[in-house]
Amino acid sequence: MFTGASPFADYVDTTFLLIVGISALVLVGLVVTMIYFIFRYSRKRNPHPSNIEGNVPLEVAWTVIPLVLFMGMFYMGWEGYRKMTDVPEGAIPIKVIARMWSWTFEYPNGLQTDTLYVPVKEPVKLALKSLDVNHSMYIPAFRIKKDAIPNRENVMWFSTPEVQSYDIACAEYCGLRHAYMYTRLVALDATAFDAWYQDRSAKAGKPYTPIGAKAASSP
């Protein structure tokens, strides 16, 4: 479940587990208290109830303490989201075109593919568009997702931590073959990526201009 891929995965998982942890503690506390009360104050053990109408300090406490905890959770969520949207300079720009029910990736020189090849450890900036209905590009291992909507360009970015391949899914319901709108993200090391990019560009008759590490470092 916890893969630790992409710059965000660790952060998202930590935030998630922190909220899960606090929630689990509180929930266990609530359930134990509830069960204790039910046995301790059963009609047999406690035939005479006490009509306690309330307690203002207690009400204030269980309003303020959750408020503080919730604000902490909100802040963590917000910070993580900022990281996800803060695209580093020099990220490789790739266009993503979604349609029922496939993905097309367009590289800066016009080369189009149906699998997303990227050089490892390089930041990649995706500009998403849809040709028909709403879709959503989802890379579960990276904990990121963005909708592809007609008439609107949405942006997401990531960088891959190691040479590996990952699933890309469609997360917004888009009709009959929604569940099959999967493709792969393949991270190659810089040399392998360049070789692939050069070879595919040549076959597709596109002008070859190096991208990735070289493009990012050139002025």
């Binding site: 309330g54 207690l58 269980w62 008439n151 997360a171």
Partner: protein, 548 residues
């Protein structure tokens, strides 16, 4: 049993024996009596519920293995659409307010009927018309709608299935909901018994009041939105359709401006039921009455301002993301306050663990889990990952089914003797509680794991690594259904052969327990005068138990 006397009403047939203008079925479908209308809703709603449950079970069966298990993808897409539309518009929105609200609101506030009885009957007719239209759309050429219950544009404009009948069904149902809300607000303002100030109202009434305001204020927005989609399909106006220069995200905003508050229409009455049942079985007053009452109003208010948290991946501005996430965390505070007050209500009570309380205990735990997972969804960084996955579906079902659904089960077991004048058997009821709780959690707990692993929702097929969780969930659906079947059989058996119910079998203090079971035609021979708050159990304090 707390009172030894069998009420006169248990021997007579109460309002069932009324000789009105019509007899037979017409005595029901043309009756303006709030109790008869409540039962009309109960029967029609139960029918839709069982159908939607069947769809759910079939979907779970399909999810048992990757690839095709029992149906084609188009069938699956249709099933989750119908399951959603029916469960939401035909079961859970009208569920507690229209059934129990109608039957009990006048009884709870010491009135003879609602303020507009004929409008009330019209609401039911609109409800049944909308419901039948939704059913008819399934069989029309073109096939049932396959858009999901959210009808997202542009897909809902492009698909060739019967989206329009489904939209109109939702439109008509919206009117039914608005009229019920209007009726309840007026009734609560104008018809409370002498002496029943606002803070002497039972908390179920407070929750119905908050709900009614959302129904009146938010429902027109969905009506207008659905009409706009219809205009779009007929005339190509270009409001939402990107091909005509429209904005599909605008549709999502308008849809959720209603549909998020609608979630509170669904849950608030459930919270009210919990506040009603807990004091009676703890035999003590509710803890923090005003905090619970005001938290209902706070939920209704804040809940109207958080809609865009359903849309965190559409590409909103930083400001939008910040505000909607912040408000989402704030709206969880009043719910938390309620949970703490409920548990404090058990403190130093004199608790008897009867069937309605058992369902409420499951409700509290499951509603809490729904709330906690809501916090995870409210945190932006986590939301981006789990948005549109099984995690959301799990969260939603924990709140709606584990919360409202179980509150409804509790309500039916609590008020059944009052509504029908018969008592059900406790053994099978407890068994149904065990199975429903076990089945529910086995069914929906795996959804959180699936979602966090990255399984998107509304998927006909899935990757093999998700299968083990799907199998557990499907087995859970069988246990849950078994529990529901036992519950229904037990209640139907009680209806036919159950022992006559006492006027006040649980020792409740609210006004509905002062009249016979079932209540007579106009509820109260003389309108009662209220002199205390709704949960006055002071007679049991410090004195020897007279009733045991």
């Amino acid at each position: 049993m707390t009172q030894a006397t069998v009420s006169a009403g248990a021997r007579s047939r109460g309002f069932y024996g009324e000789k009105g203008k019509y007899s037979g079925i017409r005595g029901w479908i043309f009756s303006t009596d709030h109790k008869r209308i409540g039962l009309l809703y109960l029967v029609s709603m139960a029918g839709f519920f069982l159908l939607a449950v069947t769809f759910g079970v079939l979907m779970r069966l399909e999810m048992l293995s990757p690839g095709k298990t029992i149906m084609e993808p188009q069938t699956y897409n249709t099933l989750f659409t119908l399951h959603g539309i029916m469960m939401i518009f035909l079961f859970i929105i009208p569920g507690l307010p229209a059934v129990f609200g109608n039957f009990l609101l006048p009884l709870l506030i010491g009135a003879r009927d609602v303020f507009f009885p004929r409008l009330n009957l019209l609401s039911w007719w609109l409800f049944i018309t909308g419901g039948l239209l939704a059913l008819v759309s399934v069989f029309l050429p073109g096939g049932a709608a396959d858009t999901g219950w959210t009808f997202y544009v542009p897909y809902s404009i492009r698909t060739n299935t019967n989206v329009l009948p489904a939209l109109f069904a939702a439109f008509i149902l919206g009117f039914s909901s608005i009229l019920t809300g209007l009726n309840f607000i007026t009734t609560i303002h104008r018809m409370r018994a002498p002496g029943m100030g606002w803070f002497r109202m039972p908390l179920f009434v407070w929750s119905l009041y908050a709900t009614a305001w959302i129904q009146v204020l938010a429902t027109p927005i969905i009506g207008i939105t659905l009409l706009l989609v219809a205009l779009e399909r007929w005339f190509g106006v270009g409001i939402f359709d990107p091909a005509l220069g429209g904005d599909p995200v605008l549709y999502q905003h308008l849809f959720w401006i209603y549909s998020h508050p609608a979630v509170y229409i669904m849950i608030l009455p459930g919270l009210g039921v919990a506040s009603e049942i807990l004091p009676v079985f703890a035999r003590r007053t509710i803890f923090g009455y005003k905090f619970i009452a005001f938290s209902s109003v706070a939920i209704a208010g804040l809940g109207s301002l958080v809609w865009a948290h359903h849309m965190f991946t559409v590409g909103m501005s930083y400001t939008g993301m910040f505000v909607f996430s912040l408000l989402t965390f704030l709206v969880s505070i009043p719910s938390a306050i309620k949970i703490f007050n409920w548990i404090a209500t058990l403190y130093k009570g004199s608790i008897v663990l009867d069937v309605p309380l058992l369902f409420i205990l499951s409700f509290i735990v499951q509603f809490s889990i729904g709330g906690f997972t809501g916090l995870m969804l409210g945190a932006l960084a986590v939301n981006i990952h789990v948005q549109d996955t099984y995690f959301v579906v799990g969260h939603f079902h924990y709140v709606m089914f584990g919360g409202t659904g179980f509150a409804l089960f509790a309500a039916i077991h609590y008020w059944f003797p009052k509504m029908f004048g018969k008592m059900y058997r406790k053994g099978p009821a407890v068994l149904s509680w065990i199975l429903a709780t076990l089945g529910f959690n086995t069914l929906y707990m795996p959804f959180f794991f699936l979602g966090y692993m990255g399984m998107p929702r509304r998927y006909y097929d899935y990757l093999p690594e998700y299968q083990s969780f799907h199998v557990i969930a499907t087995v859970g659906s069988w246990i849950l259904v078994l529990g529901i079947i036992i519950m229904i059989v037990n209640l139907l058996y009680a209806l036919k052969k159950g022992a006559p119910a006492l006027a006040n079998p649980w020792g409740g203090k609210t006004l509905e327990w002062t009249v016979p079971s079932p209540p007579p035609t106009e509820n109260f021979a003389t309108i009662p005068v209220v002199t205390t708050g709704p949960y006055d159990f002071s007679e049991y304090e410090q004195r020897p138990a007279e009733h045991s």
